[in-house]
Symmetry: C2
């Protein structure tokens, strides 16, 4: 039995399809999740922890929200990461149910206290932990419940089984309908390494920092500088290439931690380990994409998973801006929900995307197609600026699928490609967000 | 009886409240609307015309969509306006039901033919008319129906009564639930002038060109250069300060026409007529705001009319960017629909707005309040960065009102103010846009 008893609330169709029944997890990390008393139902898991138990000190890299109103845990974690230059970061403490955002000086004190108590219980040196929070904005944390929960979690509820990982993933969820957990193995120079990560998402997901929260860990040996470079690259192409509703939260944080527990040669970003670096970067990027896609799968109220691929852009940034513009168009998203092949809305969104140059988009070179998820032939909607006579029956068949793919070919000759993932905008999204706090 | 028989489809609560029963219209302009065979129900009005019948040639100014995919009528009208330097523009021809957008070279020919036939029937010199279209993207116009309708409309269905104006406003509607028509009088130097205008809106409304379509006319005497300057100023603070869903259409067009039929001294933008210029600019700006607000009132599926006022910004542009960011947040808009005083989402949207400088937003100086529409005391949610203990009962009372006002005070010392209008995001919006074409 893979799912813990607390998972009963997640017994949805999506939970069945997207929550793994097993996994292989990086060596040397313990994780867990408990209910400590932030969530008001008195039982849902709301406190998660990760601890590096290996004798190596771990290195870390993080990407944080660009929102001007940075939540207290974002301020505290980014400060610690900077002060420690990404080295000696051995644990994470995360609560859900309250974002500790816009909570003034008390909020900063609470976030620092979470770090201090975690370090103390885990016998870490001072400031070896990062802290994250997610949930409602503007209320102070029930800090006594959290500080009381930390020893209970650290001493009695950490482990490295699949069930521990599931509980950890559950404990960071808010409106998520299933916990998001991914693990995989890969090899570099004959040594097997593991990656595991989890995320929470659902609403308030947009480019420039998605999932509210997520972290992934590996037992590969890597310098903090190389990890930092890899994480920025990977997040750009994963968590910063997804959108649920275009909102950027005060709390968005992705952290990666590596403890080198699996051994092998240390990977850095000098030319001498170039090949290993590229392998690790590719592994982490595709892993981060897998995790980020789960966030889109669980977009609040979503019924469609939509891939937007922009080809032959002048630059990667152009392609990404255009894909993002489509992904964030409410009109496009409602059309996909309504299974309406309204490619005019796709063009509209291409046309108002804020691309760099006048040559980035040429209406007479632009083509748009649906790529069916069953592998059947693609359906052209617009070919070099001229509308096709669309077989509405065929379009309707394609749009019945849960997974949709839109391909935009800009025909600029630039040859660059960007991919973005989004979901539809549904009645259920409005229902969930019309009354989130009650 | 003010409403025409065709208005039966508009007999909603909003039509009763927002459609005027009478009006005073500028001298020398004839208008009208008929069904010519674009809309498929065989009866809804779909062709509108305005004609300057005064002996003065009229001057015009226009603001067009910045979307890279400009519809054929946008390309044709902006070319004519440029070629004629805004002078000698005596008529407008507008169809609804089909946007003539992404329609290739045939689309351009059709738009030009609409201009040519209108000029010919009205005995205008060549290229004295502007053309607009609104509706579905990507299908060629049923051009024979339109060209056949133009003489019928011009010869038998133009007039200057309130009923003619209502029909003209109806004939440009698509998913609108009521026709949008405003008229008013004002004085400059003891001479009475009139302004009348209409717009269509509903979905795909966003900053940088809203309402899809709108025009207003005056019998005041003004140079084309002065009119151009005034229209840009007014549209920036009206149609470009509203948002329904953040999408910018391929067809957005606002045109102003002045024929000077009421006499008086010609207003230009030289220092000699500075006072008259400012009066006319203020009159046109507040008039354009009134018209633009009707578009928000009729936002697709909207149940709330929301004013967002940003005070004490470093610059007008900063204030507008922040107001726009709030107005376009799906999370904010669903919270207002759900009558949820979730000010955290307002802060979030302030925080990710793309303002100019680091000093534009200071989290510790920012205050947010609800201004009740019944004139009762304002409710502070956040004061200089510190959350207030919100009286939820009181918040709930305020949020019951149809009209809501959010006041953000940035406390920068810059003293600039910007106002934005938007509506909520509702189940009905999703329903309408999930199946627009069928």
């Amino acid at each position: 039995m893979a799912l813990s008893r607390n998972s009963i609330r997640f017994l949805s169709d999506k939970a069945a399809r997207f929550v793994p029944k097993t996994g292989t997890y990086p060596k040397g990390f313990l994780v867990g999740g408990i209910h400590c008393g932030v969530k008001k139902d008195g039982k849902s898991l709301d406190l998660a922890m990760l601890s590096n138990e290996h004798s190596n000190e771990a290195v870390a890299a993080g990407v944080f929200t660009k929102n001007k109103f940075k939540a207290a845990p974002v301020q505290v974690s980014s400060r610690i990461l900077k002060e420690k230059k990404g080295e000696g970061i051995n644990s994470l403490i995360i609560n859900s149910g309250n974002a500790n955002a816009v909570t003034g000086s008390q909020g900063i004190k609470d976030a620092n206290d979470m770090v201090t108590v975690t370090d103390s219980v885990l016998k870490n040196p001072h400031n070896s932990s990062l802290v994250m929070s997610t949930g409602v904005i503007g209320n102070n944390l029930p800090i006594d419940n959290i500080l009381g929960g930390i020893p209970k979690l650290a001493l009695d509820n950490l482990g490295n089984t699949h069930d521990h990982w599931i509980k950890c993933a559950e404990a960071i969820c808010t409106t998520d309908t299933f916990p998001k957990l991914v693990s995989k193995q890969f090899e570099i120079n004959g040594v097997t390494y593991r990656l595991a990560g989890l995320a929470k998402g659902a609403g308030m997901i947009c480019p420039n920092m998605a999932t509210l929260l997520g972290f992934f860990v590996t037992d590969a040996p890597v310098t903090s500088s190389a990890l930092n470079q890899i994480v920025k690259y990977a997040v750009d192409r994963s968590f910063n290439s997804i959108s649920v509703d275009g909102d950027m939260s005060t709390n968005d944080t992705i952290v990666a931690i590596a403890n080198g527990a699996a051994g092998g040669e240390v990977i850095d970003n000098s030319s001498s380990s170039a090949e290993s670096f590229v392998i690790l970067q590719n592994e982490i990027t595709s892993f981060a994409q897998q995790l980020a896609q789960l966030v889109v799968r669980d977009g609040e109220g979503a019924t469609k998973f939509i891939t937007i691929k922009v080809k032959d852009a002048l630059s990667y940034n152009d392609g990404k801006k255009i894909a993002s513009s489509i992904a964030n168009s409410s009109l496009f998203k409602t059309a996909m929900y309504g299974k309406d092949a309204n490619w005019g809305r796709i063009l509209c969104a291409i046309g108002y995307s804020n691309v760099a140059s006048d040559h980035s988009i040429n209406p007479n070179k632009t083509s748009v197609s649906f790529i069916p998820s069953d592998g059947s032939e693609k359906l052209n909607l617009l070919v070099e600026g001229e509308p096709e006579t669309v077989d509405e029956q065929r379009a309707s068949e394609i749009l019945q699928h849960e997974d949709l793919e839109i391909e935009v070919n800009l025909g600029t000759g630039g040859g660059q490609e960007a991919t973005f993932w989004t979901c539809d905008l549904t009645h259920e999204y409005v229902t969930i967000n019309g009354d989130y706090r009650s």
